[in-house]
């Protein structure tokens, strides 16, 4: 059984059907790519998965459990964490604190314990700090732990966002255009890193991307969207040859 199952998801904005009867699956430990034109509904699906929007119909099943919830943080608690297309870091907070915010569901202590510095505060803070530093090391961001996140260069900000999302201990990580605005060499480094992250944390990754080299290079499976509908789903080799996909999105060059 697939880790994440999306069944017949539909979302209408008034008369516009943004997501139309979409179904696909994400296998455990795999990288699934989602491609399609601008406005095809890729980010909207992310928003549906993370409860930003409520679907008109359809279900999302994570590890056999139907995802029901009204708030995005409930999706995170279940194990679905996303990053954003336009970077959304906590710019005026140190890099390490950005990551520590992601640990809010682990290392729990009460508000009074935090205010009065009870032993649970010191114990949990110590473990949060160690875990956050460990995560930063994975992304080579540990030398910048004390810098404000807004002062990092663009590429590192993107990495920090992934790092922060990993802190929430997700089972499926949703990456919304992780390589947007990166040059080819940075994209390549990112590809390797995403692959390494998948293996190290043994999680499934669902990513939206326009960079075909990245998508074809690391994805085990690709879902193609067009006008809110899934027009193809399969391994990269088949997607490349699919006539409908070439007409709708890839063009004849690929």
């Amino acid at each position: 059984m697939a880790l994440l199952e999306v069944n017949n998801l539909t979302l209408r904005f008034g008369g516009l059907i943004a997501v139309n009867d979409v179904s696909f699956t994400v296998e455990d430990g795999s990288i699934t790519g989602m491609i399609g034109q601008n406005g095809a509904g890729k980010t909207t699906i992310f928003n549906l998965l993370t409860h930003v929007y409520q679907p008109n119909s359809g279900t999302v099943i994570l590890d056999g459990e139907i995802m029901k919830g009204k708030k995005p943080h409930q999706a995170v608690a279940r194990g679905l964490t996303r990053t954003f297309q336009n970077i959304r870091l906590f710019r005026n907070m140190p890099v390490i604190d950005n990551v520590k915010v992601g640990f809010i569901y682990q290392g729990k202590y009460s508000v009074p314990a935090g205010v009065f510095r009870l032993p649970s505060y010191w114990r949990e803070e110590k473990s949060i700090h160690e875990k956050a530093m460990e995560l930063l090391q994975v992304f080579d961001l540990d030398p910048y732990a004390d810098y404000y996140a807004g002062n990092l260069p663009y590429g590192q900000q993107r990495q920090l966002e992934i790092c922060r999302a990993l802190a929430t201990n997700p089972r499926v990580l949703l990456l919304d255009e992780p390589a947007a605005g990166m040059n080819p060499s940075e994209t390549e480094a990112l590809m390797e890193r995403i692959d390494a992250v998948r293996e190290r944390f043994s999680i499934a990754i669902l990513l939206i991307e326009h960079d075909m080299k990245l998508v074809m290079g690391i994805c085990d499976k690709i879902v193609v969207l067009n006008y809110g509908c899934v027009i193809a789903e399969g391994i990269p080799e088949n997607i490349k040859k699919n006539k409908e996909v070439i007409d709708a999105y890839l063009g004849c060059e690929v």
Partner: protein
């Protein structure tokens, strides 16, 4: 508890005690007049209000224009409790009444917050503005709060000692809250509530925690004010007073607790110090505000805190400047160390801002990063 932390807590507490001791010696030896002692108490009360407003506005990032309303709720609750107990000078009862006033204010904060936090944007500002006015009208119309007449006969129990230590407790509680995982959640909401929610922060819950805690301390400040003034009038806690607190927060630096204290003292003392100038008083007051905002738009302390570490850095810097002949002529180079608060003008900050921006876009991440400011830790 790590040893270094324990030491720094002790140092900060000792510093607070030292400051208190200085004022105690001055006040008890009759070096200054009674008026000045009263003024110091008032400064402390307003500081508590400003620091607590900083929690909801500066740290949570929600514009709160009805802070005086929460103060009013606390003031009346506390005054009515001590009036019904009818035991002037009874400190335990006063403390109970202060906490009751704070809890009442926190409760009203939750009542206002639950509907308002379902919305995004500036709705809280409008809701709290309305709340302040509603409280005023309720206090005017209820019989128990005087019914249009000022509430009189409250015992004058608030001393400067009490004001000072309640202020210290307020600062400690808010500071330790912010430096915990819950505080990071609150700060992350200020930075970007959408991203914060996507990181698993229960945004509405944390907004309510911060907002009700802010209202709680406003209520405590109100209770202290009631027993400082002896007379309560609903019109004192009006829109102007809320804006006054907001000015204190903005002037001190949004997000800086100690900055709020400094500016609360400054803005409370300034009109009194200018009393001799009669007609020019409001003119100078507003001119000072405009100049400060022009030359320090981020507030007196920005987002920094005046702590033992900052003061230590300052001393070290002064020492460094004294000992060797300085290499740069007239501060032409911008180094990260220069970004200690108190020093450094807005222009210099803008200049280093620009350097950073150009530095990051040049595409070599390692080298220019060295020049970037370090975070607070």
């Amino acid at each position: 508890m790590p040893k270094s932390k324990f030491k720094s807590y002790l140092i900060n507490l000792a510093a607070a005690a030292c400051v208190y001791l200085v004022f105690y010696l001055i006040f008890s030896n009759g070096l200054v007049s009674r008026t000045f002692i009263d003024l110091f108490t008032l400064c402390c009360i307003f500081s508590i209000a400003a620091v607590s407003l900083n929690l909801s506005t500066g740290l949570l990032g929600e514009l709160n224009l009805g802070h005086a309303g929460f103060m009013s709720v606390g003031a009346y609750t506390s005054a009515l409790i001590t009036l019904s107990a009818d035991s002037p000078g009874n400190i335990p009862i006063l403390f109970v009444s202060l906490i009751a006033g704070g809890l009442m204010a926190a409760l009203s904060g939750i009542v206002v917050g639950i509907p308002a936090f379902r919305l995004r944007g500036d709705y809280l500002a409008i809701t709290t503005l309305a709340f302040g006015e509603i409280v005023k009208v309720i206090m005017r119309s209820m019989k128990i709060t005087g019914g249009g007449q000022p509430l009189t006969g409250i015992s004058l129990d608030t001393t400067y000692t009490m004001g000072y230590w309640v202020l210290i407790i307020t600062i400690i509680v808010i500071y330790t809250l912010i430096r915990s995982s819950h505080g990071r959640a609150i700060l992350s909401i200020r930075e970007d509530d959408i991203a914060s929610e996507a990181c698993g922060v229960a945004v509405t819950r944390y907004k309510l925690i911060a907002f009700s805690l802010s209202a709680f301390f406003a209520g405590v400040a109100g209770g202290l004010y009631a027993h400082y003034q002896g007379v309560l009038e609903p019109s004192f806690f009006d829109y102007n007073q809320s804006i006054n607190f907001m000015v204190m927060v903005v002037l001190g630096g949004i997000g800086s607790l100690t900055g709020s204290v400094i500016s609360a003292f400054f803005l409370t003392l300034l009109p009194e110090l200018l009393r001799g100038l009669a007609a020019y008083r409001t003119l100078i007051y507003s001119a000072v505000l405009i100049l400060l905002m022009l030359y320090r738009p981020e507030g007196l302390l920005g987002q920094k805190e005046l702590s033992q570490r900052v003061i230590g850095n300052l001393f070290r810097r002064v020492k460094r400047e004294e000992s060797p002949p300085s290499s740069g002529v007239g501060g032409s180079s911008v180094t990260p160390q220069e970004n200690i608060p108190v020093s450094g003008s807005a222009e210099r900050k803008a200049d280093s801002d620009l350097r950073e921006r150009t530095g990051t876009s040049s595409g070599t991440p390692e080298e220019p990063l060295e020049r970037k400011w370090k975070g607070r830790r």
